[in-house]
Symmetry: C2
Subunit: 218 residues, 2 copies
Amino acid sequence: MKIAILLYDGITSLDAIGPYEVFSATAKCEVKFVAKKKGLIKLDSNMGYLHADYCFSEVTSADILVVPGCSPPNYKSPMNDEDTLNWIRKIHKTTKWTTSVCTGSLILSTVGLLNGVEATCHWGFYDLLRSLGTIPSENRVVRSGKIVTAAGVSSGIDMALQLVAWEFGEDISKSAQLILEYDPIPPFDSGSPKKAPAPMVEKIRGLMQELAKQEPEN
Amino acid sequence: MKIAILLYDGITSLDAIGPYEVFSATAKCEVKFVAKKKGLIKLDSNMGYLHADYCFSEVTSADILVVPGCSPPNYKSPMNDEDTLNWIRKIHKTTKWTTSVCTGSLILSTVGLLNGVEATCHWGFYDLLRSLGTIPSENRVVRSGKIVTAAGVSSGIDMALQLVAWEFGEDISKSAQLILEYDPIPPFDSGSPKKAPAPMVEKIRGLMQELAKQEPEN
């Protein structure tokens, strides 16, 4: 099974690496990291890089396309890059599953793939997703036809395990989970806006929305 | 706070990126990806790369050192590279916390930092850890003095959230968890050998132990 993971400057690393690691653990997937240009891809933190081994012209189809998110989802995002949007459109025609993690669904919505349908994204950006014509869902993984969207950052792991279950069956998904020892025991139960303290949620939502409004640096 | 994450060919990507993403979300950490030589670092899957922005001579101290694991933990591992073991020894003298994810604890044990103390690693390699003189623990995150070891692959996220709580307090850890929307809902409950079907556990354990015995390719 061929997996294409889109990379671009400003990407959130775990959005891409979470699904990659799950697919890799199945030993049944060929994963390609793809960007407009091959080479180093700057992370949203400015503290490191991923690497695109393939450029758009080298990857013309995929069984699963993964569109990761970025922080903030503004000028740095492929939402504003026509070449990237066109590549996503082209690959989408060939996929069994077109997927996103975090603010990646804002990109899919910009492409026009989520008009009037339910999808999810990072909880801080439901309004932005709605403004693009998509119905925000608070679920962690949302399927609308062959499009599957995941919530913020770490949710790509859960999404990929679900995709693996659909494609290869329950046992392969369970095996991948076991190989990654994905038996989460976070020290606190604060991973969703429904569980974290309300003032914390509002503060972070505010910060994220401010960041998303920033002007392009170029 | 200065974080150094060791990279090396054969590394398991999520072992490094999980903690990185947590530290990054605090906005209080400077994370450096460090390897023997700067440049591209081949992943264990042979399907992609991470990137070392710094070489050993450029990073001489750290508040937190993270030693990720690799699959399989054999010839590809820094366990067999004296320069890497020496760099870990040197950095360890400067750290507040020296940490590992997955088979990274086999490396810390080889360095001599875990003689006769409790530590954890990927569940498939407890015997190997014991053979190095360390007492394997089945806990997800294990603290022995200033050394903190985490279980397989995805457990580095939980470990980093715990370290953040110790260093910066509960609220910063909860905020990081919320930013990463780390509210796991895997489709199955199969992420530990205690929860997965026993035949699956034995099959994967066998495969891993076979891989670990393979001769160097070189």
